[in-house]
């Protein structure tokens, strides 16, 4: 973030234009470390009916007290006034975030963890929703989809024919399914499998697809600026929760991630119902 630009005053007794308020909220979010225990502000351009009661004005007053050194904070930022200048001074002191792309090394780390938590299955099985699945959670919605995957015969290692894939898909699809049916229950009904390299290839495709979804939720540029450990945490969350649940079921977590307040995001990352070990893994990644 460069500097904060406002056209008119913001805060108690200020003009309070929506865009100016948004600029203040976004800037203060970047300076949260200077005004604890303030929590990330919602960047909505609003101060409410009584500005003095808003979290934004409370954050302005704390900034004036702790950083500007005012003994009597007035909760107002005048254009080019003391508070405005101090905010810009502190913003300039922040090292710009360097975009970190999803590297091959990061993908390899991610694959290892996904295999640990999701399992790596070389044969077809039914997931808990009854979809025919293979590899690291690669779901195939129809026999046609399955035919696009390079299955081989487990006994001969020869490439499986389209008919063999179609038959095996139909057989697995006819089996009972549910949360209490692990992938290994289906092994005795299968003759086909995937090679390690095919499984890795499919997982990489999923990683690319989830990267696109994470960028939709958090913004493409912003996502790239998150540190590697945060990216690993976000990938684990989206792989497990899916985009709709992560986007709509985790409002506080998403607010903290957008504000780069990773410590509070760690506290909100909890997923009820998953292994304690996996929850701790994500919490630790965000707390680093």
């Amino acid at each position: 973030m460069g500097s904060m630009r406002i056209i008119q005053s913001v805060g108690i007794g200020g003009k309070n234009g929506a865009n100016d308020i948004k600029a203040v909220q976004a800037s203060l979010n970047s300076l949260m470390h200077l005004i604890p225990p303030t929590k990330a502000l919602v960047v909505d351009g609003k101060l409410g009916f009584k500005p003095e009661n808003s979290n934004t004005v409370k954050a302005i007053m704390l900034f004036q007290k702790k950083v500007v050194g005012l003994t009597r904070p007035d909760g107002k930022i005048d254009v080019n006034g003391k508070t405005h200048k101090k905010i810009n001074e502190k913003l300039l002191a922040i090292k710009p975030s360097v975009p970190v792309p999803v590297t091959e090394a990061l993908k390899a780390k991610l694959r290892k963890k996904l295999e640990q938590y999701e399992g790596r299955v070389e044969h077809m099985y039914l997931d808990t929703k009854g979809y025919v699945t293979v590899g690291v959670g690669h779901m195939m919605s129809s026999a046609e989809e399955a035919k696009k995957v390079a299955f081989i015969n487990a006994s001969s290692n020869a490439q499986a024919s389209k008919k063999e894939i179609e038959d095996e898909f139909a057989l697995i699809k006819s089996k009972p399914f549910g949360a209490a049916y692990p992938a290994r229950r289906f092994k005795s009904s299968t003759k086909l499998k995937l090679t390690d390299s095919t499984i890795n290839e499919l997982t990489n495709k999923h990683i690319t697809s989830f990267e696109g979804e994470l960028k939709q939720i958090y913004g493409a540029t912003e996502f790239n600026t998150h540190p590697e450990n945060v990216k690993l945490a976000l990938f684990d969350m989206i792989f497990n929760l899916g985009m709709p649940k992560l986007k709509t079921g985790y409002p506080k977590f998403n607010k903290y991630i957008k504000a780069k307040d990773y410590k509070n995001a760690a506290l909100e990352s909890n997923r009820n119902g998953i292994a304690a070990e996996r929850n701790q893994y994500v919490k630790d990644l965000l707390s680093k």
Binding site: G249, N270, G273, I274, R278
Partner: protein, 244 residues
């Protein structure tokens, strides 16, 4: 004319009295159990469990598909019956592989269900015999029926009056009279199965036990829950007696 109206009125009153009398003062109704008792999760051939005592016996039966557990200090164990699973989970064991956590949790919920179903008794009064697993059920069912994964959702459910109040159900796909899948606006996919009807808390009123399999749209998340509910009056709220 007056006589005819009076007669119809009397018929109506009689019908109302009859319908409530059937549920309020009839003879004992034996517990009823879903034929799909989830035993195929453990056995190649599903068990026929028709009475409460059948479910208690099933807890001791040796599974065709054992499960591996581990303990931080006590090492690894293979369990092959509900009884063994319950003992080891109480001792602090959990799934040996992190990827099988949801599966072992589901086994544990099924075993607990059987234990409760084994205690179901006959009842005399029913206020739930007209319930169907449709969209309306989500307006009546307790908020804890919702798929609660995040802290935000758990908090929301504490203040909500019903399942639909938390989840905003968008679609229900019925599979049978006792099983439907519910889809909400935040990607929850919940398969709900009525497992048993009977008296759980010895008040003579019908209680029902439900099995819920939770998953999400576009993700691998999976969890299971079971609920025992009751209704004390014909149009009263549905009360959650037990969740596990």
């Amino acid at each position: 004319m007056y006589r005819k109206v009076k007669l119809n009125y009397a018929t109506l009153i009689f019908s109302v009295l009859l319908s409530s009398a059937c549920s309020a003062a009839g003879s004992a109704i034996e517990p009823h159990f879903n034929k799909d008792n989830q035993s195929s999760a453990f056995f190649d051939n599903a068990l026929a469990l028709n009475s409460a005592s059948d479910f208690l016996s099933a807890l001791e039966k040796t599974w065709d598909y054992p499960s591996d557990l581990k303990h931080k200090k006590l090492g690894n164990k293979t369990v092959s019956s509900c009884q063994q699973l319950k003992k080891h989970i109480n001792d602090g064991f959990h799934a040996a592989k992190a990827s099988e956590h949801a599966f072992v949790s589901a086994q544990s919920v099924i075993c607990s269900m059987w234990e409760y179903m084994g205690k179901f008794k006959s009842y005399k009064i029913s206020h739930m015999n007209k319930l169907s697993l449709n969209k309306g059920f989500a307006n009546l069912a307790p908020a804890r029926f919702a798929l609660l994964i995040s802290n935000d959702q758990i908090k929301k459910a504490e203040a909500a009056s019903s399942w639909n109040n938390v989840s905003k159900i968008k679609e229900v796909k019925p599979h049978s009279k006792v099983q439907s899948t519910y889809y909400d606006h935040s990607g929850s996919i919940q398969r709900l199965t009525l497992m048993a009807k009977g008296d759980y808390n010895a008040d003579g009123i019908e209680d029902q036990l439900f099995f819920m399999e939770n998953s999400v749209e576009g993700g691998s998340y999976s969890s299971t829950k079971a609920y025992i509910i009751t209704r004390l009056t014909a149009n009263g709220p549905i009360k959650l007696l037990k969740e596990f």
